[in-house]
């Protein structure tokens, strides 16, 4: 009964969407704003990856919020799970040597790959979030493979804080340097398609990369700790 009602309601909503979706042009042309970014993005931001220029420059404020969301989630998760933190350490069955060594071998490589992704965020597909996720995956590998290893909470907290602060401070510096514009791209834009280009974008992406990496790792840390 319940599912029938649900299906009927959803079908009705779907019908409502159908009436409007026909008006959305599909696969034809870009929106005015999108067109503008594609056309002017290189000159205005110096990043060859237009998505990156949108994420960090045109819509950098969103990204600040996004970082904050993640931060809130990490903190909130900590708050939710930390209230009855079990202190005692349980005996964990150690992993096999092959697994252990393999993980330790792969760990720096993955980290390096992650770092590459977020440092080259303004040039190639990828960026701080993607890189951060890869970095976090390295930690998962370690957690799974070399059980018992833990990321230091202090370190992760520091990185989280610093990452966020860098974002805010860079933005405020822009505000201070260029008059009224928060997150102004005040650094020289450099030459397109080179590593040292696009002004503040790489800086922000690196900060984000670190921050996301440590936050996701922290989240996983918390969840794993709880599940053990």
């Amino acid at each position: 009964m319940r599912s029938i009602i649900s299906i009927l309601l959803l079908a009705f909503i779907a019908w409502g969407i159908v009436t409007v979706i026909g008006e959305i042009p599909f696969g034809t042309e870009k929106s005015r704003v999108g067109g503008h970014y594609v056309d002017q993005g290189r000159e205005e931001t110096g990043a060859s990856n237009i998505v990156t220029s949108v994420v960090l420059n045109y819509r950098g404020f969103d990204t600040l919020g996004e970082v904050t969301v993640l931060f809130v989630a990490a903190i909130g998760l900590g708050a939710a799970l930390a209230t009855r933190r079990k202190k005692e350490k349980r005996e964990i069955e150690p992993a096999s040597l092959v697994l252990y060594t393999g993980c330790r071998f792969l760990f720096p490589l993955i980290l390096l790959f992650g770092g590459y992704i977020f440092i080259h965020g303004h040039l190639t597909p990828g960026g701080g979030f993607q890189g951060g996720a890869i970095v976090a995956s390295a930690f998962i590998l370690v957690y799974l493979g070399c059980r018992g290893r833990r990321i230091s909470e202090t370190v992760s907290k520091t990185i989280e804080s610093l990452g966020g602060l860098v974002f805010v401070v860079v933005g405020l510096v822009g505000l201070a340097v260029g008059g009224h514009y928060f997150l102004l791209n005040f650094l020289p834009k450099g030459e397109l398609n080179t590593l040292f280009s696009a002004g503040i974008i790489p800086i922000l992406y690196i900060a984000i990369g670190f921050k996301v990496g440590s936050e996701l790792a922290g989240v996983i840390d918390h969840l794993m700790e709880e599940s053990e």
């Binding site: 649900s6 696969g27 042309e29 993005g41 998505v51 949108v54 996004e66 799970l81 709880e226």
Partner: protein, 125 residues
């Protein structure tokens, strides 16, 4: 005639249909399932559908990524970068909510020993 129109519509809007299909599946799960984990899965599917929908909005037929990896790329064929940026944000938010939801589910389970939302009804009226 009608059939061909439907086919045409489906061809033109296949991505939308897929995206909204996921959205409605997600909603339906939330509506009819009462296991918290399943509901969270439903939420996740819902998010995915929304993200797909956003991406579909910015799609251009036979488009390329909006990256000027070499100077010869035509700007005309580049897809709209804005939805991609939005989706990036939305994904992160989705992850955040998901993580939080799972952690709360863990705590809820510690308190109640069950995950059936029909029975977790101390807060009502």
């Amino acid at each position: 005639m009608v059939f061909s129109q439907v086919i045409h519509f489906l061809q033109n809007h296949i991505y939308y249909i897929g995206a909204f299909g996921l959205i409605f599946i997600g909603l339906l799960i939330i509506l009819v399932k009462h296991n918290l984990i399943k509901v969270i899965i439903g939420l996740s599917i819902l998010e995915t559908g929304v993200n797909l929908f956003l991406i579909a909005v910015g799609y251009i037929s036979n488009g390329t990524a909006p990256i000027f990896s070499n100077p010869s790329v035509e700007t005309q064929r580049m897809v709209d970068p804005v939805p991609q940026a939005l989706v990036l944000t939305a994904i992160v938010i989705g992850v955040a909510v998901l993580a939080l939801a799972l952690s709360l589910a863990i705590r809820l389970y510690q308190h109640y020993g069950i995950l059936d939302l029909r029975q977790i009804r101390e807060q009502k009226w």
